[in-house]
């Protein structure tokens, strides 16, 4: 099976994919001094900001991310990785949406219109329909994209949902959150033409249960015309992977990991290759999107 994502074979590791043919860049990464044009608190207890970053917006793909400077002083030292929750090449804008979990994401809540922040991107392989022109899918009448999102894992999938829906794919989003307060706005998915089914663990919104409970009943239906992309906490990804074990449909997972550079320089963002104790992929450069069967989802990051 050769479903290509970007120019890299998904999860194939940097060496094989890059070759050494004279320094031609496979993609370009820009360090942009981006101005914030809007920032707001949106449903789900998350912040959302749009920034001016034409170079990044122009070359971005769904499920790519950016590395954001949160301080100009020596602390906090590292940049923070955030997925592109939306971007527009035409407008030259990118959008990130974040939960406040620690020091960096808290500093970012002080952004206001006009604030300038350094943003490095676009980063990662991303995931675009162009990449998965596998034979099976080409023959399908109406290919279907199933998105499975947990928590903030919903965010990066919107650009992909939009792309797919606009190309005539049938798109469904299964989305799970802890409780109503954490449920993020899914209306943009709906507007894009996507079917949205939500579950909360405590049943305060949508059906009661986990996102895998939503997925389970449809698994027997899945075949070669289907593609599944999951993004969320590792335990959720593991459950999805287990559920899908016997399905013919390819499953892709988008991973997170602790990062320093976000660009492949440091080899800090390792994730173990499935079934090989002595091989690692790098989430920032080989991923964040991997074929589920290529990575070990054993330990949490």
């Amino acid at each position: 099976m050769s479903l290509l994502v970007n120019s890299n074979t998904i999860g194939a590791g940097a060496e094989e994919a890059r070759g050494h043919s004279g320094g031609g860049a496979l993609r370009e990464i820009y360090d942009v001094n981006a101005q914030v044009v809007s920032v707001a608190v949106v449903p789900g207890e998350v912040y959302r900001a749009k920034l001016v970053a034409p170079e990044i917006a122009r070359s971005a793909r769904p499920l790519q991310f950016v590395n954001v400077e949160v301080s100009q002083g020596p602390h906090p030292f590292l940049r923070r990785p955030f997925s592109l929750s939306w971007f527009s090449a035409a407008e030259g804008l990118i959008e990130i949406t974040w939960a406040v979990v620690g020091e960096g994401s808290k500093i970012m809540t002080q952004w206001e219109t006009g604030t300038e922040v350094r943003v490095l991107g676009p980063l990662g392989n991303g995931f675009s329909l162009k990449d998965i022109k596998g034979e099976a899918l080409q023959n399908a009448d109406r290919p279907r994209l199933w998105l499975v999102g947990g928590g903030t894992g919903l965010l990066p999938m919107y650009p992909l949902a939009k792309e797919a829906a606009s190309q005539g794919w049938e798109v469904a989003l299964f989305y799970g959150a802890r409780s109503m307060a954490q449920v993020m706005d899914t209306s943009r998915f709906v507007k894009a033409g996507c079917r949205v089914i939500v579950a909360t663990e405590d049943g305060t919104y949508g059906s009661r249960g986990r996102v895998t409970d939503l997925l389970e009943p449809v698994i027997p239906e899945l075949g070669h015309e289907d593609v599944i992309v999951a993004c969320g906490p590792v335990p959720m990804l593991r459950s999805v992977k287990n559920l899908m074990a016997l399905s013919a449909a390819p499953l892709y997972v988008s991973l997170e990991s602790r990062m320093a550079c976000g660009t492949g320089l440091c080899k800090g963002c390792a994730v173990r290759a499935a079934g090989d104790e002595e091989k690692y992929y790098h989430v920032c450069s080989d991923g964040p999107v991997f074929r589920a069967d290529q990575v070990e989802l054993g330990g949490a990051p």
């Binding site: 940097a14 060496e15 890059r18 050494h20 004279g22 320094g23 860049a25 496979l26 993609r27 370009e28 990464i29 360090d31 400077e69 020596p74 602390h75 906090p76 030292f77 590292l78 940049r79 350094r118 490095l120 990991s257 602790r258 990062m259 320093a260 550079c261 660009t263 492949g264 320089l265 440091c266 080899k267 800090g268 963002c269 390792a270 994730v271 173990r272 002595e278 091989k279 690692y280 450069s285 330990g299 990051p301």
Partner: protein
């Protein structure tokens, strides 16, 4: 306010400017070529290379700390053969002096590495990493004890013949003794400092945060230790020094030079600010021009001379 010339001859390495990439934050340059211009560096030290390929340590491998970071990459690298046959030839095209950082568990391995890179075109120097805190066998141990350091330096020098830089560990109780031993063993230059051995604990899981438990501390937090090491070592030896540890501004570069470094390298800060070398070179030139300094070499060791 005359013209400032930033170039220098660092133990035979012709550097256009005194800003190098530290080992481990630049890989072999491929990733960097997609972000910035490799020609901005005065020299580049490639990822710590071992005889055999190494997969590296289990994740998580990085953690943020106050004004710094921990890493426990564990010398993930494709091994000397791939480095020599594929990586270096590719990197050579940029015309920037290449320093190959090597790591080993035994003197024999060090010697073998010296032999392998002896005939590789475009290798300006070997940097002997006697100070890596992230590998179990060997690694840092060579850098803590003057005798072992002497032997490691000698093994590489004898086999390689060309310029040998020994990279020192700040974890040594007396870094000047180790420095002198390295020079006696044949080091043509010294680079310092490597990371400090540290760790982080995750209070939620109540366990060490890094997969490898301990890791190497780098970034601005360690700058005072690095400056002290450079200041001490520069007075103890006559070979040139490449200073590093927390450099992220032109002021830092000047401080390291005043302490006694002829050249400097950027490590962790490159991960955060990949275009840093261009900025540092520009700002250093600006400073020199303002101060009427013809070549930053004039600053070297001024804090104690």
């Amino acid at each position: 306010m005359g013209h400032t010339d930033l170039s220098l001859d660092f133990a035979g390495i012709k550097m256009k400017n005194p800003i190098a990439a530290a080992s481990g934050v630049f890989g072999y340059g491929e990733e960097y070529s997609r972000i910035g211009d490799i020609r901005a560096f005065g020299a580049v030290s490639v990822k710590g290379t071992t005889l055999k390929p190494r997969a590296g340590n289990p994740p998580p491998r990085v953690a943020e700390t106050p004004a710094g970071m921990l890493n426990s990459i564990g010398l993930e690298n494709p091994g000397a053969k791939v480095a020599a046959e594929e990586k270096i030839p590719w990197l050579r095209q940029f015309g920037v002096p290449i320093i190959v950082n090597i790591s080993a568990d035994t003197y024999e391995e060090f010697s073998e590495l010296g032999t392998i890179f002896k005939d590789v075109e475009g290798v300006s120097a070997l940097e002997v990493n006697v100070s890596c805190p992230n590998v179990r066998a060997g690694g840092m141990a060579f850098g803590l004890d003057p005798r072992s350091c002497y032997r490691a330096a000698k093994a590489v020098k004898d086999a390689f013949g060309g310029t040998v830089i020994v990279k020192l560990s700040p974890n040594a109780a007396d870094i000047t003794a180790v420095a002198r031993a390295a020079v006696e063993g044949g080091a043509d230059a010294l680079s310092l400092i490597n990371t400090l051995l540290g760790m982080a604990i995750d209070i939620r899981s109540r366990k060490p945060l890094l997969g490898n438990i301990t890791g190497g501390l780098s970034g601005p937090a360690i700058k005072p230790v690095a400056l002290r090491c450079v200041y001490q070592v520069a007075q103890a030896v006559t070979v040139p020094i490449m200073g590093m540890g927390g450099i992220r501004s032109w002021e830092d570069v000047v401080e390291f030079m005043l302490a006694g470094a002829s050249a400097v390298a950027v490590g962790a800060s490159l991960l955060v600010d990949p275009l840093l070398p261009e900025r540092l070179t520009r700002e250093l030139a600006g400073y020199c021009a303002r101060e009427g300094i013809g070549n930053p070499g004039e600053l070297v060791g001024a804090a104690w001379r």
